[in-house]
């Protein structure tokens, strides 16, 4: 009898059957909370992985664990890191930054009726 090939099993179910409660007045808040928790989880996974790497490198005699904590960036390295952090903050605060620019009058706003006049 031919056996059923199970090398690539179909993905397992990921959603539970049954009504999902809504917790907040705005359903977007429910979604956002799920996203925040998942992002925290991924951050925790990344931290665990870094911790694993540091311990394995120490154990292999490649890099003593205390060297990571004792590390001081050179001025150039510190500046490069500051740029990376600023870029990340711009991405994370993209929506807030747009609002801040609008409030400061930094962006010339064309009203919706004006836009419709322009294109129709």
């Amino acid at each position: 009898m031919e056996t059923i090939a199970q090398d690539k099993p179909a993905p397992l179910a990921r959603a539970a059957k049954g009504r999902k409660p809504r917790y907040f007045a705005d359903p977007a808040t429910d979604t956002l909370l799920s996203m925040v928790l998942a992002l925290t989880q991924e951050l925790s996974v990344a931290r665990d992985r870094i911790d694993t790497l540091e311990r394995l490198l120490d154990r292999a005699g490649v890099l003593a664990a205390e060297k990571v904590d004792a590390y001081l960036p050179t001025p150039d390295e510190a500046a490069a890191r500051a740029d990376l952090r600023a870029a990340m903050l711009r991405r994370v605060f993209r929506a807030a930054e747009k609002e801040a620019q609008d409030l400061a009058g930094g962006v010339v706003a064309t009203s919706e009726p004006e836009v419709m006049d322009l294109i129709s």
């Binding site: 397992l12 059957k17 409660p21 917790y23 996974v45």
Partner: protein, 388 residues
Amino acid sequence: MEHRQRLHDALPRPNHDESARQDFVASLRQYSGRVLGAANYKLYKAKVEPAFDKAKGRPPESVDEVRPLMTAEPYYQFWSATQRNSQEMMWDSVIDTVERHQSELNDKAARAGPLGSLKLDPALKVPAYHTAYDIHLQPGGYHTEQAEEDVSAGAIYDLGVPIYALGMMGTDNNSTGDTLVNWYRNAYPEAKPERVLDLGCAIGNSTAPWVKAYPGVEAHGVDVAAPCLRYGHMRANALGLPIHLSQQNAEHLDFPDNHFDVVASALLFHETSRPAVKRIFEECFRVLRPGGVAIHFDGFFTGPQEPILEFLGLWEVYNNNEKFLAALRTLDVVKINQEVGFKDVGFQTSPFVVDLPPLKMTAKAGEKGYMASSFGAVPLLIAVKPAG
């Protein structure tokens, strides 16, 4: 693993990042359950109850009065949504591991033996109380066959339970079984049971402690879910324990009358239905030998408590698809047992046995709030069949 489960040979091994995701969920549940969860009771006492008292001249008297007040509180909403997410994330994090190992697990289970036995009944109709919704949000529940000869639901359950219970289910998810065995051994110190039956055994984790405590006992576990039983058979062999697993509905068993010295169940009844409860007790009476004892552990009603604590205890009903628990708590299970023929029936408080030291931040016995008062000592429903 933070939850310190024994890595027996049947258990699929999480890789580094899967393990880290699972550990995160365990930490999240400790934090949400213990630190954040404890504040719900304080919120109620400091704000919700006094406001109601001021308006009505008395505190809320029932869950029905407490529920709309608490679910309107932003703090409770946030906590409850976080707790719900932790349950969904728990299953998702262990499904990653099972999905990656699925074909190898299913192949291995098909060859499992030689200890004990496995008897499946493809004609068995899985009851609607399992198919209508996925109990405790496990995608596919206990019963869904997601492949030929599937064991995935069992493996998902085995990996998920320790995260859910935060170490309180012991090294091999054995705490509920250990708890019943411990009561039995104290009540009947001389007894050497020949045959024991565990109802709603899932992966046989609550059945195993009987075999460990009484070597040579003929231990049977029944469940409606074939994927759990297949996995359970492989698991029992990995643990070196002979267990006889069969796919049966506890409402109508195929065992002869007067057959077992002990009939046990651990967390079975709250996952059934109102009509099922009486039928299961009838079957317990029928299959027990005269003088035999039934021991049940579940969230039965044992007496009134503050409405806020009853409400928090029912969180699982509204948010975790443990839908029958609330109705179960309206049933007088002592009376039902007497109606089906049992004579000595009642609740006995007994230690909840955990073979692991408690985790930091897990619930302390006696602390008030969600999942806090469940451990320490628990009420067991005991029913003895008249000697004849």
